[in-house]
Symmetry: C2
Subunit: 521 residues, 2 copies
């Protein structure tokens, strides 16, 4: 028999009453509180089986139902943890930060409204990348998605967590244009031009009149997004680019410095990622095919992996989307920047409208292939992301790599890192792969993670996104003026959500009602 | 003798005490309350001499001084109206919305920190476009500004009012990256990565960790921006483009539909503006050279104006910035879209790095030339902007033009309109020119403006920006769910600024303390 999980400070009988009231809104079948239900809302990639446990879930079908649910939650003081589709792997999946929270599962809300004239879409949170992709394909709508490497999640949820993709629309959060949001008090707000009822420009102009709020609802707990406007890429006339391989770890420095000015001047409009040999090996093979010893993979194994896949220590892919003449010219300019440089090998990619479309994220086609990497160590696989933001600078990138690589070796982990070059910043994405069935490894991962955060903080590099387990740890590194940002966040939190029922602890933002739950970071 | 203006509900003696306290922070010479001082903070383009009068001004030199000032203002309940340089002509200039407010004049704060490696700048509010331009020129820093047509204002203030420029960096507010803000309670917050003390990425990555707040401080009254990060354009290798003239009012429809897909697919990355013949005539001549009758200019005069300047009914300019091959290819693609269309005339523009730079806003050089248009009617000239946001669609643009043109004729005003094509939206900018010394005309302008707002609201087009006189009127048109946005704005306003001392009424946001001052819109 399992122990029933309750929200903090809520009695079993009050919880039951609240569940009855929730059922009155959504119907009994959408109040999910069996052991099996609770199991379904666990973070099955997590390193802990005792943290972040839901008391159950409730699954509404509409914004109107959510407006009623939040009022009941406030009355009974039941913290709600909204999820879109709950596929935020590496960052917590469907699990709530605060144990005992009731998951507000929005995956039933799947409306899609495409504006074919203006190349935009309005999606509900339950719409996955595959849903939207098929919607467009079935109707022959010439719009392309930008999808993340693992595309089984929610289009809306991904943008709300600042997930990224591969095309020029890959900075998903920056392509948000207009939200509909249920506030913690049950009010319903539309942002931007949506604040004018019936405005045809809701999905066309971001800012509206006065302060703009879209980014307030990103990575936060101030409201429940029930509709999101997003811009989509019109199918380009051509897609061009190339993949390059580099032989040495030290090549990272000049590669970053070569690409950086081309990102800043707009010649290259997507964010290329410079990643290491494990990116491919971990997806296509498992570790035991290569090595059966503890400790990080030795150089000889790295050599063998590179030989088998015919890859460099690092690789990079760049892509251009647009009219044929323009992508050709852009590709020429970027190629020229690599001339005379020690490039190990190059592979070209070219596509023209009318040709069969490459089934890859480069062409905005959803994929789940990279997800295979969780099996690298065998057992019940998991991974956790560590992603500090740093300047785009070769020397700094190389020393970040060297410092991090030394930590991987120290903790006996296999290096899985990349440097994604934004318009001005670089995100150093580390995917820490582990086996949940190896308790020693889990313990090491925890220590390793803390070491990585400490190292980065010393350089004043902050993470752009983190696992629910580490939200307080990371929020604590944002320390200007004795955590002024936290004071602002929490002042607004308490004003909008006086009972603190919405996602307490998300991004380190704790309402007064639950402030004692904050981790001692 | 003039009447001394006091903040609402504040006695003369309390006001004097407050001024003494302010002087204790900034020094006597920076508390400005003579008649002459007050005159300097009037909206000298306004149509009213009795509204929007400041009680005086206080001019701090630093964020630390501002932190002290807001605490005194809260103690004495003195509403503060922050201005950067007060050049927001057409929208209220330096004048406060609420009469009796004390202007917080930030024009002494003029620090500039350029990051030459990353193409960004951190500016204080008093830095004007000319200041920054000269700073870059004197140091031979190869970065270009984006400047508005009248460039005598503040770089920071312009971005905070969502002003626009001509280059690919012309949507200034979208190039903000990180703010430092004094909150109404005196707290000091840095947004984005600036929330981590000493982070080298403050001006490189916009969002930071958790909710992002830059846009919260735009067109609002939640805090006083004391530093703003902005991205600057690296000097391009080439600048190419062309100007086209069109003969008939009806050409607007196909021109919009020709350019729209090229904006959406990113071939054209700046926002071209399709404007009419008065744009040139009003800058280079005055009305009485052409016509001395009341009523809108007749067609015969329009013909004469067009003949003299050799221009169309409409004109458009497009520009491309970047590597030579890429601008050449882009220009070719956009030229092709106009092939076989009824273009009256075409003028090409081309520049390469090393050549003398064109002294125009297209090349990011500040200018005040367009400001001349205020003299069109003679007398003390003024203008007010009317700028609804609409979809980018030829049919809708033409009917917006026809509807608006009929109103200009009805009210006897000379048509000065343009359609600026954003990536997805269009802003229909109208500059209503008038003579402050003609009371009949001022009355007509007021009625005309209300008619324009009503017409646009019927189409569900909302304004992106408006004059302080019309902020309540425009805010009232944002009516979704019985003004849900206003409820959100004012809930946050009251939480952050309980005494309502910061810019009450800005963008229609009234703190509880002054809610009775809201116009009956």
């Amino acid at each position: 028999m399992t122990v029933k999980i309750l929200p903090p400070g809520v009695t079993a009988s009050a919880f039951d009453q609240a569940l009855k009231a929730f059922a009155g809104i959504v119907g009994d079948e959408w109040v999910l509180v069996t052991d099996q239900d609770r199991e379904a809302y666990r973070d099955f990639f997590s390193f802990s089986d005792t943290h972040h446990l839901a008391s159950g879930a409730v699954a509404p079908a509409s914004a109107e139902q959510i407006r009623a649910l939040v009022q009941i939650a406030a009355q009974y003081r039941i913290p709600l943890w909204p999820i879109s589709r709950g596929k935020n792997l590496g960052y917590g999946a469907a699990a709530p930060l605060l144990s005992g929270s009731l998951v507000l599962d929005l995956s039933r809300m799947k409306k899609i409204e495409v504006d074919v004239e203006n190349d935009t879409v309005l999606v509900e949170p339950g719409v996955g990348f595959y849903d939207l992709y098929h919607h467009l394909q079935e109707r022959n709508i010439p719009l392309w998605l930008s999808v993340p490497g693992n595309s089984w999640g929610s289009v809306c949820g991904n943008a709300l967590d600042r997930g990224v993709g591969y095309t020029t629309y890959g900075d998903h959060t920056s392509r948000i244009c207009g939200l509909e949001v249920v506030m913690p008090d049950g009010d319903l707000v539309r942002t931007g031009m949506g604040a004018m009822a019936g405005a045809p420009t809701w999905q066309l102009y971001r800012y509206g009149f006065g302060p703009a709020w879209d980014q307030m609802f990103v990575q936060s707990n101030f409201g429940i997004v029930t509709k999101m406007g997003l811009w989509l890429m019109p199918e380009p006339e051509s897609l061009r680019g190339f993949d390059l391989e580099f032989d040495k770890p030290e090549d990272l420095e000049w590669v970053v410095d070569t690409v950086a000015p081309l990102r800043r001047d707009g010649t290259l409009q997507q964010s290329p990622s410079i990643g290491n040999w494990l990116r491919q090996a971990a997806v296509l093979t498992t570790r035991k095919e290569w090595y059966d010893q503890p400790g990080a993979l030795p150089d000889s194994v790295i050599e063998a992996i590179r030989k088998r896949f015919n890859i460099g220590w690092w690789s990079i892919s760049v892509r251009f989307y647009g009219p044929d003449e323009v992508t050709a010219a852009s590709e020429k300019v970027v190629s020229r920047a690599f001339e005379g440089r020690p490039v190990l090998s190059r592979k070209d990619a070219v596509w023209h409208r009318g040709q069969p479309r490459e089934q890859s994220a480069w062409a905005g086609v959803p994929t789940t292939m990279p997800l295979q990497n969780a099996n690298w160590h065998g057992g019940r696989g998991g991974h956790v992301g560590f992603s500090p933001v740093m300047p785009t600078n070769g020397r700094l990138a190389l020393s970040q790599f060297q410092r991090t690589y030394a930590r991987y070796n120290e903790f006996g982990m296999d290096y899985h890192g990349s440097f994604a070059l934004g318009e001005r910043h670089t995100t150093n994405v580390n995917q820490v792969l582990f086996n949940k069935d190896d308790p020693q490894m889990l313990k090491r991962v925890q220590q390793f993670f803390h070491a990585l955060v400490n190292d980065a903080t010393r350089e004043r590099y902050g993470e752009y996104r983190t696992h629910i387990e580490y939200m307080d740890l990371v929020a604590d590194t944002y320390d200007f003026n004795h955590h002024a940002l936290r004071r602002l966040n929490e002042k607004i939190k308490n004003a909008l959500d006086p009972h603190g029922i919405l996602a307490p602890g998300k991004s380190g933002i704790w309402p007064a009602a639950y402030s004692k739950e904050r981790s001692d970071a």
